[in-house]
Amino acid sequence: MVNAAKVLQDLRASAERKPDVVVRLGKPLVESGAVMKLDADAWLVYEQVAIAALDVGDDALAQKCIQALETKFPGSPRVRRLNGMELEAKGELLEAAKIYKAILEEDETNVLAAKRQVMLLRAMGMNAEAIAALVKYLDINYPDFEGWLQLADMYMEEFMYAQAAFCMEEVLMLQPQNHIFHLRYAEILYTQDNVQLALKQFCRVVELCKDHVRGLYGIKLCTSRLLKSSPSKDATATSQEDLKAIDLLATERLLAVYSAGSAASAKSASTKWIEHL
């Protein structure tokens, strides 16, 4: 039991979403009542298992956890948010909306309720309202990079690439060391046809994470397009010589990555395809 508690605690700290693990470890704890031995942590575990149970569809388990929390903390906004999530899982979206609205009326800074409200609007398909609500939330809670990520996602659904690029820029400022965010930004730039800038970003991705395959593919796409078009007069643009060098480098690295440990047939197929990029 101690091991399970430790794993759950680590998952809480790292904020990873692994509902199957949580349910597998947490279910016996909750059902046997052994979770109460964890004292203060017990309630955190209840909350964690409740959310995970909703994720995997185990409504009964979720109900049990939420019930326990309600008995201990009646009227708490944190528990009411869980109630809202339960209703969302059952599909009663309007009821859930009412709960979140009530929480926000009591305490307008409640981050959890505000976030759930945005996602609720998205689930109901009201994308425009969801975007408006999220923008309002981010105006107040600027450093929430996950919020910015979510907003970028929503803009991309609406094909509003310029705004999505803006959101990714904010994310980059908040989390500059994460190469995945650079990658997403690069791909948005490429979609906007801003190939020169996209190339630089793809290079950054590979710089941060050596031999990142998606980054290398991005480089290849950009360089092949830039080499085909006429050389730009812009001083900041990459020189032809550099372009060719980078192109060669990307090809070489891709071949290296794919040839390491793959079957001969796969190797020849991938080689052919890479050289035609």
């Binding site: 500059p176 060391q177 710089e207 941060l208």
Partner: protein, 110 residues
């Protein structure tokens, strides 16, 4: 690390740095207390006592440096010298306390 735009700050996750400092302080304070007990029992006085502390402290730092930080403290702390300097002063105070306590109990009293 190569490819840095900003000073290496961008690479450091704040939470981990804080956790590492906390662990370092924890190790050092427990170690200093025990070292103080040892110094008191041994009956060290004056300079030998302080030298004992700093030598012991350096020994601990080297151990952490080699075993836990695997000789690359730059990956665990902002500055590689943090391994040697983190929590030394706080440790010194508790060292003095326990040193005085044990010295008193064993050498001054019956």
């Amino acid at each position: 690390m190569s490819g840095q735009l900003n000073p290496e700050d961008a690479l450091y996750v704040d939470m981990f740095i804080a956790k590492n400092s906390q662990t370092m302080t924890f190790i050092r304070s427990s170690y200093s207390a025990i070292l103080g007990l040892a110094a008191g029992i041994l009956g060290l006085t004056n300079w030998s006592g302080f030298v004992f502390y700093f030598v012991g402290s350096a020994f601990l730092s080297t151990l952490v440096f080699l075993v836990k930080a695997k000789a690359s403290p730059g990956t665990y702390f902002r500055s590689p010298f943090d391994v040697f300097t983190e929590g030394v002063l706080g440790g010194l105070l508790s060292y003095i306390l326990f040193w005085t306590l044990l010295y008193g109990i064993i050498h001054v009293y019956d």
